[in-house]
Amino acid sequence: MYSAKVMDHFTNPRNVGEIPDADGVGTEGNPTCGDVMQIFIKVKDGIIIDAKFKTFGCGAAIAVSSMVTEMIKGKTLEEALAISKEAVANELGGLPAQKMHCSNLGADALKKAIEDYKSKNK
């Protein structure tokens, strides 16, 4: 069902956890009907220097969270904002069709985290 890369990120997720003094936190999803992702970022000079996540959800949701946090580290906020759902899925070697929309919340949670950072640093 899942690609080897998805299974790798699911079974050995990178960046699990919270950042207590995060510069931005974004949550996306809804536990009553599916997955919930929470992304924590640490930003320095407009660059994401650390990222962590907590996720309630299926294998795809956990792999997506892991992948997104990997992808954004070292990126500028603008570069990070440009990451699309498709980009995450591609990086994972693809996701099953029915998982594309409901479990691929990483980019959305990330956007919220960046917005959170920006609203705090206006």
Binding site: Y2, M7, F10, T11, P13, V16, T27, P31, T32, C33, G34, D35, V36, Q38, K54, T55, F56, G57, C58, G59, A60, A61, I62, Q98, C102, S103
Partner: protein, 399 residues
């Protein structure tokens, strides 16, 4: 790595003795049962022999058994076949919220055709209340369908009491006994049902064979029209090897039921006990009045598909009613109808044991499962502070 198949409710392994009974009908005895020459006659004989074996398992007459290709087909056949044959008497049917999709979606089809359908509520254990059945009956009601036992939560319904209500009102009663036939005693006379669905692959028989018991004298509209197979009630060249296998599986189930039940119940109780040590894991369904091989839980703070995948990586095969693990991406309607919240239902996990499982399987599972839970809770935003408790927690549905 140890492989523990704990998903007998999805399908069973084929018993070697059943396979041996099927073998002759693949090659040498490939004739069509309708043919009048010898090879056809022997295929016919195999089918009639299987019919008697299945009838004996459920205490019916052989002539009351109609073979189908699956449990789903038997359910569609029963619901639509009776609703249509009796539509001049009324266009209202009653089904429970514990039903399998093959009943629920057949009911929805009938709604589109102008029938009214009542969906019976259930209590927190998944029980249908016979009183509620009684109150749901109208002058238009022709058919009631209540599952014998749920494959999702294991609860065994009070069919006898429901049958008494149906009989009093002169209404036909069907039961989906796919999860029970061959696993616990199923006696159509004692249950008092008019129709009963079963599937061979749920009792170590082959895929591709199911059956519908239809009480003698009851008229039913066919689902599959065509030739005169199954007395004109179900057309199509018979799947002779699968039917022969279903017969053999029925015979073995009858002979070995007691021993199999004792075996799986012992293992299942050991599993219950072990899992009760994990905090915030809730048993679904009734603790006692349930299928003997059935252990179903909701694990708080984490999601079912993720559990299934990590368990599978350890060679442990189970099932879940979570939205994410269903391809329809909907939480199990059965869990929701029992009052379990959608978010708790996301943590659904179901272990169904079988005759070939061992004590060692359970012990292995009891070391791996808590670790899987722990790992996923570490990732979950909701599980702060939760993990494995040192002593026994309460193991029942608490909502």
């Amino acid at each position: 790595m140890r492989k523990c198949y704990f998903d007998h409710v999805a399908t069973n392994p084929l018993d070697t003795r059943v396979f041996d009974a099927m073998m002759p009908f693949f090659k040498e005895e490939f004739g069509n049962p309708l043919s009048i020459y010898e090879p056809g006659a022997r295929a016919k004989e195999a089918i009639e022999n299987a019919r008697a074996q299945v009838a004996s398992l459920v205490n019916s007459k052989a002539s009351e058994i109609i073979f189908t290709s699956s449990g789903a087909e038997a359910n569609n056949f029963a619901l639509r076949g009776i609703a249509l044959s009796r539509q001049n008497e009324g266009k209202h049917i009653i089904v429970s919220r514990m039903e399998h999709h093959s009943i629920l979606n057949s009911a929805r089809f009938l709604e589109k055709m102008g029938f009214a359908v009542t969906y019976l509520p259930v209590d927190k254990h998944g029980f249908v209340d016979p009183e509620t059945v009684k109150k749901s009956i109208t002058k238009e009601t022709t058919l009631i369908s209540v599952i014998h036992a749920s494959s999702e939560v294991g609860t065994i319904e009070p069919l006898k009491e429901i049958a008494a209500v149906a009989k009093e009102k002169g209404i036909i009663l069907h039961t989906d006994a796919v999860a029970t036939t061959g696993n616990i005693p199923v006696n159509v006379k004692e249950l008092g049902v008019d129709l009963l669905s079963m599937a061979a692959h749920q009792f170590y028989g082959p895929k591709g064979a199911g059956a519908l018991y239809v009480r003698e004298g009851l008229r039913i509209v066919p689902l599959i029209y065509g030739g005169i197979q199954e007395n004109g009630r179900r057309a199509g060249t018979e799947n002779v090897p699968a039917i022969a296998g279903m017969g053999k599986a029925a015979e073995l189930a009858r002979d070995e039921m007691k021993a199999r039940t004792e075996h799986v119940k012992k293992l299942r109780d050991k599993l219950f006990k072990g899992v009760s040590n994990v905090e915030n894991v809730y048993l679904t369904g009734h603790p006692d009045n349930r299928l003997p091989a059935h252990a179903s839980f909701c694990v708080e703070f984490i999601e079912g598909e993720a559990m299934l995948l990590l368990l599978a990586a350890k060679g442990i095969y189970a099932a879940s009613g979570s939205a994410c693990s269903s391809k329809a991406l909907k939480a199990s309607p059965v869990l929701l109808s029992m009052g379990i919240s959608a978010s708790l239902a996301q943590g659904s996990i179901v272990f169904t044991l079988g005759k070939d499982n061992t004590d060692e399987d359970i012990e292995y599972m009891l070391t791996e499962f808590p670790q899987v839970i722990k790992r996923l809770r570490e990732i979950s935003p909701y599980a702060k502070g939760w993990g494995i408790k040192g002593e026994g927690g309460e193991c029942t549905v608490q909502r």
